[in-house]
Amino acid sequence: MNNTAASPMSTATSSSGRSTGKSVSFAAELQSMMFSLGDSRRPLHETAVLVEDVVHTQLINLLQQAAEVSQLRGARVISAEDLLFLIRKDKKKLRRLLKYMFFRDYKSKIVKGIDEDDLLEDKLSGSNNANKRQKIAQDFLNSIDQTGELLAMFEDDEIDEVKQERMERAERQTRIMDSAQYAEFCESRQLSFSKKASKFRDWLDCSSLEIKPNVVAMEILAYLAYETVAQLVDLALLVRQDMVTKAGDPFSHAISATFIQYHSSAESTAACGGEAHSDAIQPCHIREAVRRYSHKIGPLSPFTSAYRRNGMAFLAC
């Protein structure tokens, strides 16, 4: 595999996990997750390992930034507010996160109404848990919102294009499946980091941090991890699609130099045939996707200091 300077992995400051021989690995779960997000029936193990690496690195960086924010406001734990603060710049992702939080509240409300035991437990727990996450989000955004655009997001009912695309892809994927395959697919879709909360916590390894995240923050982190995987798969699928040279494409002769590095000759001949010989996402697709995502293309990109400071663009936010 290529490990030139162009690879973003080598520039990551925190340990990648491969060298330290981590005992907790989500590779198997990630393979299932990638299948449910649009990858082939059996995603490659190498791809899963690479995705795990990317997600882990990004989450650690995110946590560190969140810890800084938390310290700034003098809190003892990293809470949902800190993470919301980090995401505030990207409207679409923020809205998606808010929708996720509201859905969680809504789902607990409904499930509570169905089972009488749940209802009792909720009453007994004392605090008013209904719409807890929504309240947190609303209060926080209220406090930091200067122009009113953040609060406007609560009323915003625009269609989330990325989610729409994912839904359509899932629909296409499932249409051709038979009953048994579909059952497997559904099980894969139900996998998430929040289901394996304790394993996720270990994997994240917050011991080096002074401030630890609280429960709601962990929920959001699990969601962000899942979002990162989803984004990676989305982008990798796009990259793979790009690699297939289409007839009539005016720019087919102008493939970038870095692009060619990741191509094996076997793959390109097969791609020219019109059908990729392997359905699974390759690690090279992932790498290319991350490279493109981090690479700010534009007239002023060399001078954008904010981008430089982070060192790594977060896929989830």
Partner: protein
Amino acid sequence: MEGEETYLELFLARCAAQDDLAPPRSPLLSPIVPYDVYIPNSSNPETTFNSQLEEVTETSGNFSSVDLSFLPDELTQEDKDQTLIRSKHETEENCKTKSWQSGLPLPSQQDVGLALNSSGGSNSHSHLHPGDADSAQPSPEKPLSLPLASITPMTPVTPVSECSGIVPQLQNIVSTVNLACKLDLKKIALHAKNAEYNPKRFAAVIMRIREPRTTALIFSSGKMVCTGAKSEELSRLAARKYARVVQKLGFPARFLDFKIQNMVGSCDVRFPIRLEGLVLTHQQFSSYEPELFPGLIYRMVKPRIVLLIFVSGKVVLTGAKERSEIYEAFENIYPILKGFKKT
């Protein structure tokens, strides 16, 4: 439960005989209650009715055998109504068919429903709203075994081919009632069996009874919430039992404003459903996040019911105030689900 078979037959009959229906019936006539159904075309309406009536009196009798005489005011009034209406029912039986065909709403029909519900107060009317298929089932211990095959439905329904033939079963009913007196929760918790009270955790007594298997939350203001019953009548019966317990402890408990707050039903369509397709085509109503919850949450507008639809084909319906809403919601969703059947 045998009681459920009755509802099933009702629904099947409703769908099967729809074609016979010439004019659309007015909503007032639509409550399809076993006791109230008029069979103009049937071969032996009278005998069926008589047997129904006998069942009615018998079951109503059974119900009053539960000692509720101590409950004052609004409830004894209702007992009077019962006897009055029963006799009315018998005399009017013969003119029913005529009046039905002429399309006139029969007040006695509703009253019968009232009596058979043995529900006092204005809240019983909620049971009689259009489409309420079985507002009358006074006692589930006595299921009806009636030949209902030839019952003519009273509302225009979807044609036979689309009728599901599946009737959702009620799983949980949440109701509230006002005992209308201040209660000393400590005293109740000390003297009552199966009562829990932990004021630090929650400001109410949690009481449970075994028959019907329910749980009640009793507040010091006198308000009470009853959960866990499997039918409206059971919920009411359970609430009354709790009220009696409270009364026996010396409080002047009454039984005001009994209201069903939520009803939960469930059923199985028996085929796998492709939820990805459903969420895409019904976006404005559905939310599906399998990482969070394995079911699709469908918010139906009319009636206002929330359905949880699972891949396996199980459907849970919640948010209903009346049984008819659950049935209606299921009949609405069934053709949609069939469209996304995973072969």
